[in-house]
């Protein structure tokens, strides 16, 4: 009896240690029926729950777009709210399928088991200060205490900027976005620093937004991109081309409202995008109408930008670098063919 017990224990132990062959992320997502997406817990315009508890934002809409392309339903997303310090570990450990959490694409992150997709928001770091300090430029911040979220590129740029300009500062680092902002608001710090899109968003959450100003200096390049794990080329391609499809649609004038009429368009670019012609979807391992569903349910890049961070939102961020390449910006998609 005892020996039998041991034999079965040994067998169980051995079978458990046989390494689990990892299925592709696409198959896993299809099998689960939902996309698990890592998002920002509290950044207006990028990832934040609305008053009904549903996540909204530019990054959240990117999750919707991937879910629409892969599963045919933009709502089939499970959100995991992640701190800056936890986000990459969550991706590496397969807790999430996709990280869309205003994360800066850097070479070191690309070499830590992650791959960053196309930039869905070109950003740069800035400073928020109280008006009554009388500071007009970031160069006047010598000796200031600066509140910053730890584990971010922001923290590193901050050190670089003060070193380059030969200035001293006190870095007060917090784990969460909320704690960081609260510490600034309570007067623990003279300045609050993050990506400038975040500065505009966070300023609106302060009690008297008009008492605070964003300084003119942009001290870094912050290309914010969605990220996936390395080693799954098919999944990386799907994530990449989801963003490109949204940018291409904006370029071609295809919106969520007119996409049905556009199906009848004679323009070969539009026909290939919507899957009327060619096999773009099949090549990615998706249905032929993936882009149609995506655009119908989520919209093109311009629409998504506008309702989350642009003129259709409280943030009113100008398109700037995020305009299409044809309109003086940097958003450019390779051809779908």
């Amino acid at each position: 009896m005892k020996t039998a017990l041991f034999a079965s224990l040994v067998a169980a132990a051995l079978s458990a240690t046989v390494s689990v062959a990892s299925a592709g992320t696409l198959d896993t997502v299809k099998q689960k029926g939902t996309l698990t997406c890592g998002v920002n817990p509290a950044l207006a315009g990028f990832g934040i729950p609305d008053d009904k508890g549903n996540f909204t934002g530019l990054d959240v809409d990117f999750c919707h777009a991937v879910a629409a392309a892969v599963l045919g339903d933009a709502t089939k997303v499970k959100y995991i709210a992640l701190n800056a310090t936890d986000r990459f570990t969550a991706l590496q450990s397969s807790e999430i399928d996709l990280l869309a959490r205003n994360s800066t694409w850097t070479s070191s992150r690309d070499s830590q088991g992650m791959l960053f997709g196309p930039v869905n928001f070109y950003d740069g770091q800035g400073f928020l200060v109280r008006k009554k300090l009388g500071v007009a430029s970031a160069k006047d911040l010598n000796g200031a205490a600066v509140c910053v979220q730890q584990g971010t590129t922001t923290e590193l740029n901050l050190a670089d900027y003060f070193r380059t300009n030969g200035m001293k500062y006190d870095s007060v680092a917090f784990k969460g976005e909320d704690e960081t902002l609260k510490a600034y608001e309570s007067g623990r710090c003279d300045a609050f620093t993050t990506d400038s899109s975040g500065l505009y968003a966070e300023r609106l959450r302060l009690v008297n937004p008009d008492d605070h100003i964003v300084l003119p200096e942009i001290i870094s390049k912050e290309p914010l991109s969605p990220a996936v794990r390395q080693g799954d080329d098919q999944w990386f391609n799907i994530v990449r081309w989801t963003q490109y499809a949204m940018v291409t649609a904006e370029e071609l004038g295809v919106t969520s409202k007119n996409v049905d009429e556009m199906m009848k368009s004679e323009n070969p670019d539009i026909r290939r995008l919507l899957g009327v012609e060619g096999e773009a979807g099949k090549g990615l391992g998706l249905n032929g109408n993936w882009a149609y569903i995506l655009l119908k349910q989520v919209g093109n890049y311009g629409e998504v930008f506008d309702r989350n961070v642009g003129d259709g939102s409280p943030l009113k961020i100008k398109r700037g670098l995020n305009a299409l390449w044809s309109k003086g910006g940097l958003q450019y998609a390779p051809p779908i063919r």
Partner: protein, 396 residues
């Protein structure tokens, strides 16, 4: 012949298989083998999976430049230092809070515990309220309370409270004058050391003399003279080599002096007063565990109340107090990792937070962090066990 051989061999074989001692050893070996192979498999599996996903598996990051700043450091550190140095900064900050926290919580805990037993109704009830309030509110909330409700509402640097002696209090913390050691100041240090050593010798001598002759020496003025008077005299003779750097308000904050940050104060206060509420109950239990007959017997021998406490009650109650007290010390050290929520750069915040995120070496960083807490806790508990074995009742 063959038949008999088989028959005689069989019971021998059977006795080997059915021998409970042999079987026990075999089972243990099998179990050890299974556990070892499980650990081995898990480790190699994790390593190969990490290699496949291109997650760093080495400790190369240790010598790379960190690139971030830390505002509270006990050892020299800048953004040009390595991740390894960042680890030591975090560790020193954790140890600082741990050591100061243990000292502070012991003082507060013993005071409140004794107050719980006071015959004064108000004192006893105040101690009761202290214990019941603090031990029943989660520690994290208490830390956030100290940080957000007590320290942050302090005025901005330009409106600082000025305390006597060049000390300033504001929402950036406490700014103290820092001593600057000029030439000859090491002589004062030697004088201080000599004073302390001489005082200890004096104590030993006075005790022996008292045993022999019953005469008491005027210890307090003599030690004061040795420890305070002597260094001061040398300071005067040398013309004040030790000066104080008085903080000056300049720009955003004070420059010069030494700054104690509110994050540190909040963490130290929060941890100490919380743990003290548990220690108070342990002390009360320890004192009450000493049989009433003991103090009555001491009274009957004519000992004064103070001596009854120091010679009869405390030594006996310490036996009961020390083991659970060790637990509280360990709790305090481990709870200091909650620093991450109020922005104090301890080991978890600096190393398991920023360094982990910056390097992506999650497994290595977490393993090191856990090992460090394990070592700190084991050292603390073996020190306390040593003390306990010296205090424990000698078995007769």
């Amino acid at each position: 012949m063959a038949d008999t051989a088989v028959r005689t061999n069989r019971p021998a074989m059977g006795s080997w298989i059915y021998d409970p001692k042999v079987r026990a050893v075999v089972y243990q070996l099998v179990l050890v083998g299974i556990v070892a192979s499980l650990i081995y498999e898990a480790a190699t599996n994790a390593l190969s999976a990490m290699a496949r996903l291109r997650i760093p598996t080495t400790f190369d990051f240790w010598t790379q430049v960190s690139g971030f700043d830390i505002n509270q450091t006990l050892i020299p550190y800048t953004h040009a230092s390595t991740y390894g140095q960042a680890f030591w900064v975090g560790l020193c900050n954790t140890l600082l809070v741990g050591v100061l926290g243990i000292v502070l919580t012991t003082i507060v805990g013993f005071t409140v515990g004794i107050a719980r037993l006071s015959t004064n109704w108000i004192v006893a009830k105040l101690a009761l309220v202290y214990v019941e309030t603090l031990r029943n509110v989660p520690l994290l909330l208490q830390l956030l309370f100290w940080y957000n409700a007590v320290l942050k509402p302090l005025p901005a640097p330009r409106q600082s409270f000025q305390l006597p002696g060049g000390i300033f209090l504001n929402n950036r913390g406490l700014v103290l004058p820092s001593p600057q050691f000029g030439a000859g100041s090491e002589l004062i240090g030697f004088a201080l050391l000599f004073g302390v050593a001489a005082s200890i010798g004096l104590f030993v001598w006075a005790k022996r003399r008292q045993k022999r002759t019953g005469q008491q020496a005027p210890l307090v003025p003599l030690t004061l003279l040795l420890i305070v008077g002597l260094p001061l005299a040398i300071d005067l003779v040398l013309g004040h080599p030790v000066t104080f750097d008085i903080p000056q308000l300049k720009g955003f904050n004070f420059t010069g002096g030494k700054q104690v940050f509110p994050e540190f104060v909040a963490l130290l206060l929060g941890l100490s007063v919380y743990t003290a509420s548990f220690i108070a109950e342990i002390v009360r239990a320890g004192v009450q565990s000493v049989a009433r007959g003991q103090s009555e017997a001491a009274q009957a021998l004519g000992l004064a109340p103070g001596r009854i406490r120091s010679l009869v009650i405390v030594p006996q109650s310490l036996r009961v107090i020390i083991p659970p007290l060790t637990n509280q010390y360990l709790n305090l050290i481990k709870n200091s990792s909650l620093a991450v929520f109020i922005g104090y750069p301890d080991l978890v915040q600096v190393f398991a937070g920023t360094v982990l995120n910056q390097t992506g070496a999650a497994v290595q960083v977490m393993a090191i962090t856990m090992a460090v807490y394990l070592v700190i806790s084991l050292v603390t508990s073996s020190a306390m066990n040593l003390y306990n074995s010296r205090m424990a009742r000698a078995e007769r």
